[in-house]
């Protein structure tokens, strides 16, 4: 069963803001979560604070990651 992106993002919103972490570490924190929940492996380019730290970019990434190629 794939976790719906909307449900995941609702849960993600419940996470407390990490204290004292730089943007790169925050991105890695999010990447660990995404890979675990969606069973994907992100590329180094995707382990980017600009992607994983931005809600819109994150949603787009997840939508791509959970879409089964037709």
């Amino acid at each position: 069963m794939t976790v719906p992106v909307d449900a995941f993002l609702r849960e993600y919103a419940c996470l407390p803001e990490p204290l004292g972490e730089d943007a790169e570490l925050r991105a890695l924190r999010t990447a660990v979560l995404i890979e675990d929940v969606f069973g994907v492996t992100l590329s180094d380019e995707q382990l980017d604070p600009a992607v994983l730290g931005d809600p819109g970019a994150l949603r787009a990434l997840l939508a791509g990651a959970t879409t089964t190629p037709g």
């Binding site: 069963m1 794939t2 976790v3 449900a7 609702r10 849960e11 419940c14 996470l15 407390p16 204290l19 004292g20 972490e21 790169e24 570490l25 890695l28 924190r29 999010t30 990447a31 660990v32 979560l33 890979e35 675990d36 929940v37 492996t41 590329s43 180094d44 382990l47």
Partner: protein, 661 residues
């Protein structure tokens, strides 16, 4: 809560005075009285800590026609509901105790009775009609139960020292048991540190008759296949967990005829159970906390915050390194195992505080880390899997800093440490990948063993701890597999034993564990892994479920694993009197476990308080000290020698004149 013991034989009736001597060694488990039943071929004894039906619940206790007798250590929390059901089925009760429920339930349902119990127990039932002894232990191993098989019978007890009350029993350390401790931090049942002494595994029932002994599992931890968890909604799962935890906590707080207190560690788990007691029951509440003189280990500010918020009557004990060193021999005497940490010692002092304040029952938060994904080992496994998925990544290495913030403050050390420790055994196909670093690091202790002992171990294949995992585990989430390993090894072998039952019962205090309630465990096991460990956020659903009752400061504080000063306790500010005795060349030679030259080097390093004295050295030092104390007290000496008479009043039931049932 009590101590139980007994002897059954296929030939002559066991000597009642031997069982009385066994009971005497268990006085600390049951100082309120004792009793034994004598039958042809069986004597069963018990020392009692009176908690439910303090007057009527004297043991041993029988069914209506006295064909079935029980001795029992623990609590059956749903005894009122079971008694009602059993009365409806025609059973007649003489007491208001949970003990009596056991005999009627066993009459009614046989071994299926154990699956109906919500509780924590070690039980021995003597069936006079079928001349059989039935032993049972609760699902997760809260209560201990040891036994020794002989060609003609069996002896059993809550603690090994009671079995050693028989001077004819050989007392030896088991090399294979020591290896298990020096790998997984504890032995894994049925193995124990002592040769010839077994323990009934958690969730098992065993039967002895003159024709043999057999043991089978009546319960085991199960998890759904990854992605097939029945509930996927966080709000619903949080509500379900909250409802079950409130019920489990109330059951453990309210089902007692004596006052019940609560441990308050300053972490989330005990804050949840204490807040539930305060908000969902009416009784006044005393809370008990452990503080450390060393600020690095102290959680006093969080304990105070919670106690003040809840308005409890709060007590604490401040433990110094010296305190740990002084009580450590007693700690080993009660733990009956080598220890790789000093952490049980402060818990021994905490239960003493409880008892001195007139309490003999406490609710505690143990089990939450195992059941709801709270341990660092689970988070480490997530990061290691993250690395293993793309070993060539240039960016993933820094993820180690997410585990331990101190790494970010020591960037020069962090990458090397991460590579050498967390980077070991990155095999995603290994069902025990989560635990390999711990086991491999701990196994380094074995290099200190004597050549003779190591040669002996070469001839005995080591148990593969992961091999016992059910075949279905292949379909589980990796977190579930890691949880299974914790539930099968460290929880019963160390957390509930050396840090749990043994340190509590040493001071005649019973612990109750809401997070280990069977409904809570079954519900938690069925949750999606992400609701337990959301990325690296531990106990995610628990925090969500109780965010209204637990202050933000505690919910958001970095997890602080319970630790105490280890080797430093024994070498800073002088050494304790007993230390030179157990580390003397003659004592090391007598025990034959550790290579004296290696011990000498380790001690020298500890005395110099070397800055290079790291985690493995701490484990080594604790392993040496505790094993030497164990040998001194249990092998060179006999631990049964400490016992006086069994606690009064002593109730004796002699069935020999009544014939067989």
């Amino acid at each position: 809560m009590c101590g139980i013991c007994g002897v059954v034989t296929a030939d002559a009736t066991p000597d009642p005075s031997l069982v009385a001597a066994m009971m005497a060694t268990l006085s600390h488990r049951g100082p309120d009285g004792s009793g034994y039943v004598i039958d042809h071929g069986a004597v069963l004894g018990q020392t009692r800590l009176a908690i439910i039906d303090t007057v009527g619940g004297v043991q041993p206790l029988a069914n209506e026609d006295e064909s079935l007798w029980v001795v029992f250590n623990g609590e059956i929390f749903n005894y009122l509901e079971l008694a009602e059901e059993l009365r409806d089925r025609g059973h007649r009760f003489r007491t208001a105790s949970d003990t009596e429920v056991i005999v009627h339930a066993f009459e009614e349902w046989g071994e299926d009775a154990f699956n109906r119990f919500n509780g924590q127990w070690a039980i021995a039932l003597w069936d006079r009609t079928r001349r059989r002894l039935v032993l049972s232990r609760d699902r997760l191993g809260v209560r201990p139960l040891y036994y020794r098989l002989t060609p003609h019978g069996l002896s059993f007890a809550s603690e090994v020292k009671a079995i050693f009350a028989d001077p004819a029993v050989p007392r030896q350390l088991d090399p294979a048991g020591l290896r298990e401790v020096f790998t997984a931090w504890s032995t894994v049942a049925p193995r124990t540190p002592f040769a010839g002494i077994a323990q009934l595994p958690p969730g098992h029932v065993a039967t002895w008759t003159a024709s043999g002994f057999s043991s089978r599992s009546y319960w085991r931890a199960e998890f759904p296949a990854q992605g097939c968890e029945p509930g996927q909604d966080l709000e619903e799962n949080a509500a379900g967990l909250r409802e079950r935890l409130i019920r489990a906590t109330r059951l453990r707080f309210e089902r007692s005829d004596v006052p019940v207190g609560a441990y308050l560690s300053g972490g989330i788990d005990s804050s949840v159970t204490t807040a539930v007691i305060r908000n969902f029951t009416d009784a006044p509440l005393d809370t008990f906390s452990l503080r450390f003189a060393d600020a690095d280990f102290d959680e006093g500010c969080y304990q105070q915050l919670m106690a003040q918020r809840l308005g409890t009557t709060h007590h604490d004990v401040v433990v110094s390194a010296r305190d740990i060193a002084e009580v450590f021999p007693d700690v080993v005497y009660h733990a009956e195992s080598p220890l790789l940490r000093s952490a049980p010692a402060p818990l021994f002092l905490l239960s003493r505080l409880v008892r001195r304040n007139g309490y003999k029952v406490v609710v505690t938060g143990e089990g939450a880390d195992e059941v709801l994904g709270g341990y660092d080992i689970y988070r480490e496994a997530r990061v290691r899997a993250f690395w293993a998925r793309d070993p060539a990544s240039a960016r993933r290495g820094r993820a180690a800093e997410l585990l331990y913030p101190w790494m970010a403050m020591n960037p020069s050390q962090a990458p090397a440490f991460a590579r050498s420790f967390f980077g070991m055994d990155l095999d995603l196909a290994d069902p025990a990948m989560s635990h390999r670093p711990r086991w491999n690091t701990t196994a380094a202790l074995q290099s200190m063993l004597t050549a003779g002992l190591r040669a002996e171990l070469v001839a005995t294949p080591a148990t593969d701890l992961a091999a016992a995992m059910p075949a279905a585990a292949e379909t589980w989430d990796p977190l579930a597999r890691a949880q299974w390993l914790e539930l099968a090894t460290l929880l019963p072998g160390y957390i509930l034993a050396s840090q749990g039952d043994r340190m509590l019962m040493a001071n005649s205090v019973e612990g109750r564990f809401p997070f280990l309630d069977p409904d809570v465990v079954a519900f938690a096991n069925a949750l999606p892994a992400r609701h337990k460990l959301f990325g690296l956020e531990e106990k995610f659903v628990l925090k969500h479920a109780f965010r209204d009752l637990v202050p933000e400061e505690i919910l958001r504080r970095p997890k602080q694993p319970y630790r105490a000063p280890d080797a430093a306790s024994f070498f800073s500010g002088g050494t304790p009197d007993w230390l030179d005795d157990v580390l003397s060349p003659s004592a090391l030679l007598a025990a034959g476990v550790f290579e004296p030259r290696q011990v000498a080097g380790l001690v020298q390093k500890a005395r110099a308080r070397s800055r290079r004295f790291g985690n493995t050295d701490n484990m080594r030092m604790l392993a040496v000290l505790s094993t030497q104390l164990l040998h001194q007290q249990f092998i060179a000496g006999n631990p049964a020698g400490r016992g006086g008479p069994p606690p009064a009043p002593v109730h004796v039931f002699d069935l020999r004149e009544r014939g067989t049932a």
